[in-house]
Symmetry: C2
Amino acid sequence: MRESGISEEELFSFLSLKKGEDSRYHHVLSSMCTLPHPVAVRAHQMFIEANLGDPGLFRGAASVENLLVERVGSLLHHPGAGGYATSGGTESNLQALRIFRKMKGSRRPNVVVPESAHFSFEKACDILCIEMRTVPCDQTFRMDPDALQERLDADTCCIVGIAGTTEYGVVDPIETIAGIAHDHGIPLHVDAAFGGFVIPFLKRPIPFDFSLPGVASVAVDPHKMGMSTIPCGCLLVREPSWFNLLNVDTPYLTVKQECTLAGTRSGGAVVGAFAVLEFLGREGMRAVVEGCMKNTARLIDGMETFGYRRAVTPDLNVATFEGGAVPPGWQVSWTRRGHMRMVMMPHVHRSVIEEYLKETGEIHA
Amino acid sequence: MRESGISEEELFSFLSLKKGEDSRYHHVLSSMCTLPHPVAVRAHQMFIEANLGDPGLFRGAASVENLLVERVGSLLHHPGAGGYATSGGTESNLQALRIFRKMKGSRRPNVVVPESAHFSFEKACDILCIEMRTVPCDQTFRMDPDALQERLDADTCCIVGIAGTTEYGVVDPIETIAGIAHDHGIPLHVDAAFGGFVIPFLKRPIPFDFSLPGVASVAVDPHKMGMSTIPCGCLLVREPSWFNLLNVDTPYLTVKQECTLAGTRSGGAVVGAFAVLEFLGREGMRAVVEGCMKNTARLIDGMETFGYRRAVTPDLNVATFEGGAVPPGWQVSWTRRGHMRMVMMPHVHRSVIEEYLKETGEIHA
């Protein structure tokens, strides 16, 4: 660390250089994050010092967190759901598994996840000392419910279904899986970190939420398709009292107990997430999602005219291909099965796709 | 969720009302968070969309994270320490215990912490399935090293020492504890979430960091005395390769593996933390800490003139008292032993203390 500080001018000219090394989102087709909505940025700035870890000091920000949970709960057909704003999908998934591990009380608990599950489940199971059992997917990269049944046993504390897989943008057959979970008396956690702000706004929504009796908890990330600033995820559970299982005593704070993973938590990002939902409403979100879905269809059509076949017809705004050339300067990614993958986030405008297709055509020719 | 969105004007007039319900920091004497430094806010804004969870997309922000770790490492006498920016002290403590649990490989691991440890250790041990053994403190609320020795056994994967306790602002006898840890071959994790940005800037620094051979890892929070925006903690470990124990594969990202707890991570807060350290330098930080320590001494003197005796003479900027009247409108807190507790953060200026003492005198009279 320097002995003497540097001037603000010198500091920010250095940081501007560093900023120049970051990708501009314009050419990023590989991320499930996006440029935050301007109202999220403005709201974040307004609440920049708010710490939700001590809610009695920040009663305004804390009440906005409650409103956010209520709004997301109503979107997921359960306005009375319990919930809080997490740091993102990983924390949401980990905390859900932690609840169900405690409920089960087994000495050697296991959780059953599709092989398409996000790597955060591997992390969470490692941290929580839970055995992770994976279920193969079918040809469309969706969990196979028959294979699921075979993996359940008396120590299974939770089943995980994915509503919008990271790699292929498909939704597991949640209705069938929820039925199996319900029949076995095993809670179903739905990872809708990506899909939670897409599926409800599709022309033909796919059942995935608390409207299905087997669904016990849902993870949804405002900082993905909710266009909030980082960090903001949401974990919602069917019974608010389940969070009591996670409580630790918190002396010297304005509350006596807390159930979250982190202590200090960003109020700014949470108020920002709420701001986007209020500003856009369901109508506005439908327009955003419709745009992303049209762009996904356009990209798939365009790529197929070059002979790059889709790996699957996605439910959501993720396009994957059997091969594909990448024009210089673009960020795309690859699935574990070797398919090229692009996510049509809100920053990927139609003109961006046309530019991408044009450049692909040039290197393809 | 609303069907139609509301106007930006309507939204922000609602959020302004909510903002009015938050405490202004002016009267908050109970928090280890503070108003972020203006350069942190400006830098956060500049990098508001940066996601450190996908560092290949945000190379500039990621390189600033590395610089932050290097700066903090040099401050803690180990410029080659491994590290990353966490969401705060809870994640730092959890990840440190996770590393040492894996290193030990015991079936029934335990960790030994002083009874003064922050409640995040209870949370972390619950999550990680580690037995938590507590060591009593002496009359000055510091861990008793003799009692520590009695609690160690072959399954002890980590000893925890606190450099700046949340309740009393005292530093455990880290040098002695580090010697015990070294002799037993057990890693010592130092929770300096609060003290890490105070102790190095004291007129007489107290040994607590990597200069002691037994210290294996240190947690330090920029979003406490480092005056950064939320969320920014740092976990530093003696051997960078230890983080490999936590790696999971991360397909579809620009990196192949990651060792962090969260996936998506705020670049803005991390660049902000770096900005404060660069802008102030050691000189500037010494001035901040000197001010906080003088204010602590002044508060203790003032309270003792009213007959409210100090509970202990603190090492850091936390003042605790045997009883004390609280003038209306002020936020103070209470320790588990029933002592009144106030934290002299940078937002608590001398004039604030004089105001507090004056009002205390009025209700005391």
